[in-house]
Symmetry: C2
Subunit: 317 residues, 2 copies
Amino acid sequence: MEAASALATKALDGNRYALARLISLVEDDSGDARAALRAIYPHTGHAHIIGVTGAPGTGKSTLVNELAKALRAQTTTVGIVAVDPSSPFTGGAMLGDRVRMRDLAGDPGIFIRSMATRGSLGGLARATSDVVKLLDAVGFAVILVETVGAGQAEVDIARTAHTTIVIEAPGMGDEVQALKAGLMEIADVLVVNKADRPGAARTARALELVINLNTTRSQTGDNAWQPPIVQTIALDGTGVAEVLEATAAHRKHLITTGMWARREQVRVETELYNILQQELLGRVIAQAGEEQMQDWVARIVAREVDVYTAVGTIIGK
Amino acid sequence: MEAASALATKALDGNRYALARLISLVEDDSGDARAALRAIYPHTGHAHIIGVTGAPGTGKSTLVNELAKALRAQTTTVGIVAVDPSSPFTGGAMLGDRVRMRDLAGDPGIFIRSMATRGSLGGLARATSDVVKLLDAVGFAVILVETVGAGQAEVDIARTAHTTIVIEAPGMGDEVQALKAGLMEIADVLVVNKADRPGAARTARALELVINLNTTRSQTGDNAWQPPIVQTIALDGTGVAEVLEATAAHRKHLITTGMWARREQVRVETELYNILQQELLGRVIAQAGEEQMQDWVARIVAREVDVYTAVGTIIGK
């Protein structure tokens, strides 16, 4: 097997096969992958990372595909990372890849990767962030990170983006889903997709009302940006150009206000703390031994000791 | 202010005001709260913890209220913990409490608490788990933990339950939402609520198909349980008794197969590791100092060093 550092050199030279192999190493969190991530890291920081999130059924994947096609028409290179929390049982990620590939395959200016939930949630957020770094380093100008976005986990992943697009669709029940899921605060661009369906105007008005309230109440500089609401019909491309204009305007806003740098800092801090936690736990378990840890679990289950007392004893008061 | 240990004694004696005060301390993760949690922990382990989860718009809160009323009619005591990821802006948690209280207030056999997302996700899961322990210790026989359930985070919270109810509703778009959100694996009881709406039978059939496939493929003892599908109309109480029968049957199944103990072990292990992580990170930050940590963040942002190298240096290779 090729060493990760050799793969990194090839990937930076534009070799897509090496990139795909590296991504697999990163997903498996192999020790070798870290050497590669170290090598590529100085090349990162140039891409515009755009999170795209929304409840199932909003037409998110179709919109992401159309955004990618429109960007390619402008000769902008595009990486797509689709984070799919579907179970391995339903095999959503793999199917999604194949459907997409039919549409966008054979173009070296685009790269698509689906990532399914495996193991811990923290693991998925970390792998997603590392895959974005790889795509950034090898030169993709725009990286679209697609998440289902109905839970805090997906919100956290979307937060690593510079610009977050939140998608709504009319007729998904009585409530505006984004409101319920707490997505309004992270939305930089709001899209009402399936705008040809009844209720689209009502959904847009409901979103506008909330944005206006939000902007009035807000006192931070970040929220000086008023999220535009764009109506789209992703299936025939209507409104897709307007969404791209909105994301470009948001990027400009971030840079001129200094928010670009501030968001980068928050992202790095979160990542640093998450990785620290995982490493520290790994060491404590290695030190105490699996058997000793299972013994603590058994004692807590038996109500001989509570979890906080156990933690205090394991790592010393 | 009263000491947490004194509050714990009063709460164990049935004082609801002391219980509410303790819950607030636990939510704030005050050092004092840990002493109280230690004191009450030996009294835990008797409640049947039931997670109730489903996408927004499925009528989840209404069903939880009806389940609580039906349990009270059997003189079973009920605690409700509603985990609400709504933003503080929309104030969902507080409003929900008031609406519920109108229906269920004045009955000392019921206790309702909403918990909104604040700070980190890990913090919410931890606080939810501790609040459930308090309700368990003071003697509530059934504890209903309600989460929005569309993301991995809510799934993790639901996983602390002995029995998980997943709610669907017809007409929420073309797909079965639970499938998309990866909830099928954690479902012990499936509810198709709003069964008077068109499409309810179709939704139930779709769920049944997946369950049959799942059961056939499965090889573990856990999945020998075939999740029943119950159609309900929570608004008028239809099917609520059947849901309670299903949860009671599941509890019996868990105990006779030994799964009750196995689930408890997994829950304790997860909690132990999460708290260890949080404590270890807190110590490293305290040791290095906030300033030093911010310096690392700045160097990573400047691409002088990558995050894995930084972590290796901070905690020693």
